[in-house]
């Protein structure tokens, strides 16, 4: 359940973001996350820990929107992009080359925050 620790990191970042708006108080409607398929994060567990963590905090009611980012590799021989998969040992379908370059799929990113400001 390292998603608990990931949620703690996320809350630290959100607290810092809140301070940037001080003295106004942002009311957060939604936090947009991008989570790559080639990470050790299970989005459902993240959503669960988020709901528990924000209860009775300034983020109570804020939704976490997780956008899954597919794993895309690029074959370094022929430059074609492809979807590496465990059952093909992540090799490129064009040249059977190992997964050398990852284009997307390693994202663990707080993309943006939707909010309103209370003065």
């Amino acid at each position: 359940m390292h998603e608990v620790d990931m949620t703690k990191c996320l809350l630290l970042s959100m607290n810092q973001w809140r301070q940037q708006h001080s003295p106004a108080v942002p009311v957060v409607e939604r936090v947009h996350l991008q989570v790559g398929d080639f990470t050790c994060v299970e989005p459902d567990q993240l959503l669960f820990t988020w709901r528990v963590a924000v209860e009775n905090s300034w983020l109570d009611g804020a939704e976490l929107a997780v956008e899954a980012v597919p794993l895309v590799g690029r074959c370094v021989r022929c430059q074609q992009t492809y979807s590496p998969a465990p059952d093909t040992a992540y090799r490129s379908p064009c040249c059977d080359h190992p997964m050398e370059e990852i284009v997307t799929g390693r994202e663990l990113r707080i993309r943006s925050v939707d909010y309103t400001l209370e003065s």
Binding site: M1, H2, D5, M6, K8, C9, L10, L12, S13, W17, P26, V27, E29, L33, V35, F38, T39, C40, V41, P86, A89, Y90, R91, P98, M99, E100, R106, E107, L108, R109, I110, R111, S112, V113, D114, Y115, T116, L117, E118
Partner: protein
């Protein structure tokens, strides 16, 4: 009326951990100490390999260990017996070390010795092939162990760990005659997810491959020292993922 607003952050989810890890690394660099983060599943042989390695290298390298363990000090006691300073970090229920736990361990270490007198600091992570792969602790390099008894599919099942590793050690090779396992397949699967890492076959029991492992360590200690003296060649500062 409140206008709906949107802020674009483009900040890594683990930014708080990354900042602390970067802070730890700044300390290591100031002390001119190489930090290696050793990771594997439970029972792959991290502690046995470290016992052997500390014994073999302590004559010419000054070393210390931050020993991560969920609840016990058993591993720390084993390594302390070798005569190298060990700081145990019990993580409680957490299945990995994070940068702030290592920072706490460093403060305890500083009560015992001057870290600038060290050449090499080992971080033995909690046995787990999943979580430690995502939590940097400030290490310069990651070492992953995979024992031959775990099967050749593990690099494909836990690809992030093996992708992130700078060096992968295939351990317990002394057991190969008794197992229906093809070590070439293990190596091939590691190469599939990480074509450029160093892969070594080792046995802490019969000594196979340990000379190559020790020479890899010595090489990393000297290149770390060289890169600190030539900051332009220094490429180990962590990169945050930005939008």
């Amino acid at each position: 009326m409140h206008m709906p607003l949107e802020d674009t952050l483009g900040l890594n989810l683990l930014a708080a951990n990354h900042h602390q890890a970067e802070h730890n690394r700044e300390h290591f660099d100031a002390w001119q100490v190489l930090c290696l983060n050793v990771m594997s599943s439970p029972g792959a042989g991290k502690t046995s390999l470290l016992e052997q390695t500390l014994t073999a290298l302590s004559a010419d390298l000054a070393m210390a260990v931050l020993e991560g363990d969920m609840t016990t000090q058993l591993d720390a006691d084993r390594l302390e017996a070798v005569g190298v300073p060990v700081v145990p970090i019990t993580t409680g229920r957490a299945c990995h070390l994070d940068a702030s736990m290592v920072s706490g361990g460093l403060k305890l270490l500083q009560q015992r010795l001057d870290p600038a007198s060290l050449d090499l600091l080992w971080v033995e992570n909690v046995g787990n092939l999943v979580c430690p792969a995502e939590f940097e602790v400030g290490e310069h390099l990651k070492v992953a162990l995979l024992s031959v008894t775990e099967g050749d599919d593990k690099p494909l099942k836990y690809p992030v760990m093996f992708r992130e590793a700078d060096c992968v050690l295939i351990t317990k090779t002394d057991l190969l005659p008794y197992l229906p396992v093809d070590i070439a397949r293990i190596e091939a699967h590691i190469r599939q997810v990480n074509p450029h890492c160093t892969v070594l076959r080792v046995s802490a029991t019969n000594g196979e491959g340990l000379a190559a492992w020790h020479s890899w360590i010595r090489q990393q200690v000297s290149s770390q020292l060289a890169s600190l003296r030539n900051p332009h060649g220094h490429n180990v500062v962590p990169q945050l993922v930005n939008a």
